[in-house]
């Protein structure tokens, strides 16, 4: 699907299904330097099982035009504007990493819009190391290597992709390389600067799911704990032997968590 959001052409993957106003809608929001394709298996499942799926490419990412947004707050308002532009009045939001923060803030700011909230690999705050921020600004290949090294559970760096024939570190690297120059630095700075996570969590009215990877080094489970504590109506799924790249590392377990919640 392509819609204009604030004048910029915006792409959302729909699982090759046409939008049906009679069906409930699920919006997927990707993380820093990524695009809709991180949701491949999960988004397809829901598109084939009675939901409208809108796996967006955030502004300046993937197939969407526009400039990348510099704050989580701006991203959250953009998600609301995107849903309005797509003609969606109510949706469940599923976000990963930076996308989880955007979904969280969106649920706090636009309670009427967000029916359910699933946060994968969130953290509040989500501080990013100076080394990674510097690399994202000055040496993107080095930043990509850091992210790929840190976002997978140690075993995943030797492969074992659940999808036959795919090499996880290679795919993760190429996806980051596809981002336009400067996008990753803007995304990481937005994560690093976001201070509203706990307040947002406290004001979320809808049911929320938090999925954490027990081997996640980018957003370790303990850095999600305060956020989890602040949520009122919540469910937590903790994935053993899984890192931050959970939609790739453990696609079936992530899907099962989402099916159980949505």
């Amino acid at each position: 699907m392509r819609v204009a959001v604030g004048g910029a052409e915006t792409y959302a993957y729909t699982g090759a299904r046409a939008f049906d106003a009679a069906l409930p809608t699920l919006a997927f929001v990707h993380g820093a330097g990524n695009d809709h394709s991180v949701w491949a298996l999960q988004s397809r499942y829901f598109a084939h099982h009675g939901r409208n799926v809108l796996a967006v490419d955030l502004p300046g990412h993937g197939r969407s035009a526009g400039r990348p947004l510099a704050s989580v707050e701006a991203l959250s308002d953009w998600v609301a504007a995107f849903l309005a532009a797509a003609g969606v009045r109510e949706a469940a939001l599923v976000g990963h990493s930076m996308g989880a923060l955007a979904a969280l803030e969106c649920a706090a700011r636009h309670p009427a819009l967000v029916r359910r909230l699933a946060l994968l690999g969130p953290a509040a705050p989500m501080p990013v190391s100076d080394a990674l921020l510097d690399a994202a600004r000055n040496d993107e290949p080095a930043a990509h290597a850091m992210i790929v090294g840190w976002q997978h559970a140690p075993g995943a760096l030797l492969g074992g992709h659940p999808v036959p024939g795919l090499w996880m570190p290679g795919g993760a690297t190429r996806l980051l390389e596809r981002a336009l120059p400067g996008v990753l630095a803007i995304d990481l700075a937005a994560c690093n600067a976001y201070a509203g996570g706990l307040d947002a969590a406290a004001s979320v009215a809808c049911p929320a799911l938090v999925v954490t990877g027990q081997r996640d080094l980018m957003a370790p489970p303990k850095s999600a704990q305060a956020l989890i504590d602040a949520l009122r109506d919540k469910r937590v799924v903790s994935l053993p032997n899984c890192g931050h790249a959970m939609t790739n590392e453990a696609p079936d377990r992530v899907l099962d968590a989402l099916i159980g919640f949505l």
């Binding site: 993957y13 090759a16 695009d35 809709h36 394709s37 491949a40 298996l41 999960q42 397809r44 499942y45 084939h48 993937g62 197939r63 705050p125 989500m126 501080p127 990013v128 190391s129 100076d130 080394a131 080095a142 290597a145 850091m146 790929v148 090294g149 840190w150 075993g155 760096l157 030797l158 492969g159 074992g160 992709h161 659940p162 999808v163 036959p164 024939g165 795919l166 090499w167 570190p169 290679g170 795919g171 190429r174 996806l175 390389e177 596809r178 080094l217 980018m218 370790p220 850095s223 696609p251 079936d252 899907l255």
Partner: protein, 444 residues
């Protein structure tokens, strides 16, 4: 001060594993069911579905897993990951042979009306496929001198969909200038496919130089022992099939495929669209898949690829040095020799060596050539390369038999050309064997 993200080794970049380690481990872990340390041979045609929903989810690409060994198999998947890791790609598909890998690459990118620009210095089998067989299906190829960048450029037409060459061309070891040919391809919105059979990722990683797709005849150095036929096709994941220059050229990847849920593969996967189409169409429908036992043999070979390749190259250098000085030898085509046309390029692209397959020209008649081959005791006279054992063949009467005299000459082959594949024996024994053969030829 805000607490920083607790990183394991905050001052260093994370460890990505190195080549030799990946050769042994990439894609494989001890079997969770049995503890088996070696990769099991999953000798099964099919895989049981836990329930009907799961079955549907596998068919519809909503869950990850195996359905039927033509489409994917766990042993083959380990090999696919391993080769993708060694090449630095996003994934791979194991095929029944090197020929099947080339065919799969081409048919994934184009149908009737498509056009390829290929190096003239190709393995005879690749040449057959491109020059004689694919035209029957409406796919044409223009062959060019791999060194002539203007010729590559001039041969590109509006319907061109692929540039193709061998990293080290058969049989003269023409070195493909991968960076320049890739840049030219990309200027025209086209991908570059390279046959890396002779170099293996140990000698050259073409993706680092701009190539988009790589294939191997795994029959050769990857398996390394002359015991299987197999191929592997690897995707770098870098080519933008939907990019401004490529737009409209690759409908198999950018338009809905009615044969699989109307998926637009470039939208389904940003980095692995090519592999998706190749698996969901090409392997599914043409069916040239690899057998799991074959994948296992190739995995065994790859475990020792770094040590074998080092020894292959070391032995090849000694044999080249011997032949280059021999009175019965008119010339040796090895790019490390200053006499080779691609000497400078090889020094840049192939610092670890130029492999262990090369040709030399014997002085004398066809009968003397025959006498030479038949006098050898260690070198086996057969049609293969990349075995642990040393091999010899006479291209003009075998691999390149179908080529016209003119094409032969253009490919740098004469009646006296002998191709060697240097194995892992003691180099002195190999040199003694060749010495005996040359002596016999001299007396014939």
């Amino acid at each position: 001060m805000k607490a920083r993200l607790p990183l394991p080794t905050p001052m260093s970049t994370p460890k990505s594993h190195r080549f030799d380690t990946l050769s042994l481990h990439a894609g494989a872990r001890p079997d969770p069911a049995t503890g088996a340390r070696a990769t099991p041979i999953h000798q099964t045609a099919s895989f049981v579905f836990p329930d009907c929903d799961h079955a549907a989810a596998l068919f519809n690409m909503e869950r990850a897993g195996h359905v039927y060994s033509r489409i994917s198999n766990p042993t083959c998947a380990v090999l696919e990951e391993r080769v993708a890791a060694l090449e630095g790609g996003v994934g791979a598909i194991a095929t029944a042979s090197g020929q099947a890998a080339l065919h799969l690459a081409i048919c994934t990118l184009m149908g009737a009306g498509g056009h390829i620009v290929a190096s003239r210095a190709l393995y005879g089998g690749s040449h057959n496929l491109l020059d004689y067989t694919l035209p029957r299906f409406g796919i044409a190829t223009t062959f060019v001198d791999p060194r002539d960048l203007d010729a590559w450029r001039a041969a590109i037409r509006p319907e061109t969909r692929l540039l193709f060459g061998e990293t080290l061309g058969n049989p003269g070891l023409d070195v493909l200038d991968v960076p320049r040919v890739a840049a030219l391809a990309h200027d025209h919105g086209l991908p570059l496919l390279v046959d890396s059979t002779f170099t293996t990722p140990w000698l050259l990683r073409p993706f680092e130089h701009g190539a988009d797709l790589v294939f191997h005849s795994a029959t050769k150095f990857l398996s390394g022992h002359g015991v299987v036929i197999g191929g592997v096709l690897v995707d770098s994941g870098s080519f933008d099939w939907d990019g401004a220059k490529a737009r409209g050229k690759f409908p198999t990847l950018t338009e809905p495929y009615h044969g699989f849920h109307d998926m637009v593969f470039a939208e389904e996967s940003t980095t692995a669209a090519f592999l998706l189409r190749a698996r969901r169409e090409g392997i599914r429908d043409f069916g040239a898949c690899m057998a799991p036992a074959t994948a296992w043999q190739i995995l065994q070979g790859i475990e020792t690829l770094p040590v074998r390749m080092a020894r292959h190259v070391e032995n090849a250098r000694k044999v080249v040095a011997f032949l280059a000085k021999h009175a019965m030898v008119a010339g040796v085509a090895y790019p490390e020799l200053p006499s080779h046309r691609d000497h400078a390029l090889a020094a840049r692209l192939l610092p670890r060596g130029c492999g262990a397959v090369f040709s030399f020209d014997l002085r004398g008649t066809r009968a003397q050539g025959r006498r030479f081959i038949e006098s050898l005791r260690l070198f086996s006279h057969l049609a293969n390369v990349g075995d642990a054992k040393s091999l010899v063949i006479h291209p003009a009467s075998t691999t390149h038999f179908r080529m016209s005299a003119e094409d032969l000459a253009r490919a740098g082959i004469t009646e006296g050309t002998i191709r060697l594949s240097i194995g892992l024996e003691d180099a002195d024994d190999l040199i003694e064997d060749l010495s005996r053969g040359l002596h016999a030829a001299g007396k014939a």
